[in-house]
């Protein structure tokens, strides 16, 4: 059976992260958010801990498909230890890639920035799955805003889409 297209979504890197997630589990944090993907029910609870502007930890727990789980694992691997500014750059690049509807081929600079996360390029062709890939990244952005006091005051937001 020819699974070219599918294989381009389920890259080995993704399946690997899915089966062996990095940094899973909830640990101490400065802020916690809970995000759900209303179209499919994927959920994530995510905490961030900052050391000044440096990301000391991103811990998470959730349920969801291989894409959303792997994406959270990749996020942890990529962002922990980074300075906020660099992390924002990575998040921006990942968002751009995910919203490209399969039209974007990552160049060298992007590959360097995103590391394992470039493996999600194939997912961008599947609109229903883009939200899965972005779930943890939106949660991270929200938690960061809260932790650093830049967010709104409503407490944990329940909204992703």
């Amino acid at each position: 059976m020819a699974l070219v297209k599918l294989d381009s979504m389920y890259q080995d890197v993704i399946l690997d992260h899915y089966k062996h997630p990095h940094g899973r589990g909830l640990r101490d944090g400065d802020a916690e958010v809970h995000h759900v993907n209303p179209t499919c029910g994927d959920e994530i609870t995510l905490r961030v801990r900052y050391d000044g502007e440096r990301i000391a930890d991103v811990s998470y727990e959730g349920q969801g498909c291989s894409i959303s789980q792997a994406s959270a694992s990749v996020l942890n691997e990529l962002l922990v230890g980074k300075e906020l500014e660099q992390a924002r750059r990575i998040q921006g690049a990942f968002l751009e890639l995910m919203q490209s509807r399969g039209q974007l081929t990552p160049d060298d600079a992007m590959e360097e920035l995103l590391e394992d996360a470039v493996a999600f390029a194939g997912v961008s062709k599947y609109p229903a799955r883009v939200k899965c890939a972005l779930l943890s990244w939106m949660a991270w952005k929200d938690a960061t805003a809260q932790a650093l006091g830049a967010g709104d005051e409503d407490g944990p937001k329940e909204r992703t889409a």
Partner: protein
């Protein structure tokens, strides 16, 4: 003005356009060709829209939003693509401000209900007032009457001048600090009047009232820009703009859609549901409960493409010319009285009239026997008939496919009506 039975030089090529509308070939009563002058009730549909419907059902049909399979993704892309098209067509700042409903009536009821259930500062209650006009379609009267009854709010309205325009002379007494919402029609379906936007918007803003515009008879006929008309909500309906039945639109300002409560509850409009409580999806989905009119949205998207390709400015100019010609000719018919403005200025493509004391039913029936389709009655705007002391009118209404020859047929037909009942 110059005109000929072949169309207006410099305006739309109706010969070509009419080929897109299969129903216009319809032959009635022993060989009479259909003269369709009832587009204000509903427009006819071009082949391009019907093809979009068939293509949807034959190739892509699936329920939207929740699927990972190919058809579901295609159906979702088509449905949401239609939203993009409609948003662009009305120059909406954001696609998320475009809500698909079943018709303009639902759109208007949706606004009335949101405001009835809203928290402050939007809540309509017994201390507040609602302002409409005497030339509204019943769909922009009854929802506000129901809201007034159910909340205790007071319903007030602009009266009409003898020549069929809004009487704005007492605007400052009508729209006051108590006014929470002003809802008016941009173009009257019975009088043909186009109403002025500036004055009402200015006064509403002064007192902090929300402005709702019923654009059902405007969006089909003229280039339309929600950002230009200074409204908070705009309602219109697909079937009057070459689209299918079963689809309407409500545009609303994003911050309002975020703040206001949902109306219909169900699938698609939720974020998360437990038996104890639910949270809602962001707009537009918050206001689209249940399986939406998917094929109908796709058809409306195709209608918008069709109209845009021809050009809304050209359509408006064409209709203006037709109306000018029709007014000129109708005013020559003995005993004919136009109900509404008698010139083509600030005027849409619907012309209502009475013919002596021949009842409109009888006028319509005798015209029908000649293949001419007009509407008769109160056109869902009975207060206008009461205002002008008439039981009903006969209404001829035009669209991009209307020709001067059809105006001529109408005038000849009316002559025949007069002889018949003379």
């Amino acid at each position: 003005m110059t005109s000929s039975r072949r169309g207006f030089p410099g305006h739309l090529d109706t010969e070509a356009i009419r080929k897109d509308f299969p129903v216009l070939d319809r032959v009635l009563h022993d060989g009479k060709k259909l003269v369709y002058l009832d587009s204000a009730a509903t427009s006819q549909k071009p082949r391009q829209v019907l093809d979009a419907l068939s293509d949807y059902y034959e190739q892509h049909n699936a329920n939207v939003h929740r699927g990972v399979h190919v058809l579901a993704e295609e159906a979702t892309a088509l449905y949401e693509g239609a939203r993009d098209k409609v948003a662009a067509f009305i120059n909406a700042p954001s696609r998320d401000e475009v809500i698909f409903t079943k018709n303009a009536s639902e759109s208007l009821n949706l606004v009335a209900n949101m405001l009835g259930w809203a928290d402050e500062p939007y809540r309509v209650d017994s201390d507040t007032e609602i302002v409409i006009t005497e030339m509204e379609h019943h769909s922009n009267i009854v929802p506000w009457q129901l809201l007034a009854q159910r909340t205790g709010a007071k319903l007030k309205w602009f009266g009409l001048t003898d020549d069929g325009r809004l009487d704005l002379s007492r605007i400052d007494e009508l729209i006051t600090e108590k006014t929470k919402v002003v809802s008016y029609t941009l173009a009257s379906n019975i009088l043909g009047t186009f109403n002025p936007v500036e004055e009402i918007a200015r006064r509403a803003q002064e007192v902090g009232a929300l402005v709702v515009v019923d654009a059902s008879q405007a969006v089909p006929h003229t280039a339309f820009d929600v950002q230009a008309i200074q409204a908070d909500f705009v309602a219109f309906t697909g079937h009057k703009m070459c689209g299918p039945t079963g689809i309407g639109v409500l545009w609303g300002r994003q911050e309002l859609l975020e703040d206001l409560p949902p109306f219909l509850g169900g699938g698609e409009m939720i974020e998360t549901v437990s038996m104890h409580s639910s949270t809602y999806a962001p707009a537009p989905h918050k206001f689209e409960a249940g399986t939406p009119p998917i094929a109908q949205a796709v058809g409306l998207g195709a209608a918008v493409d069709y109209l845009s390709a021809i050009g809304m400015d050209k359509i408006a100019a064409h209709e203006h010319a037709i109306v000018e010609y029709a007014l000129e000719r109708l005013l020559q018919v003995p005993d004919l009285r136009i109900i509404g403005p008698t010139t083509a200025e600030d005027r849409g493509a619907a012309i209502s009239f009475t013919l002596g004391d021949i009842h409109p039913h009888d006028v319509g029936q005798v015209l029908d026997e000649q293949g001419i389709a007009v509407r008769v009655g109160h056109h869902c705007a009975r207060p206008v008939c009461l205002r002008y002391g008439i039981p009903a009118t006969t209404r001829a209404s035009f669209y991009l496919y209307s020709t001067p020859a059809e105006v001529d047929a109408l005038v000849d037909g009316l002559e025949h009506v007069r002889n018949f009942f003379g």
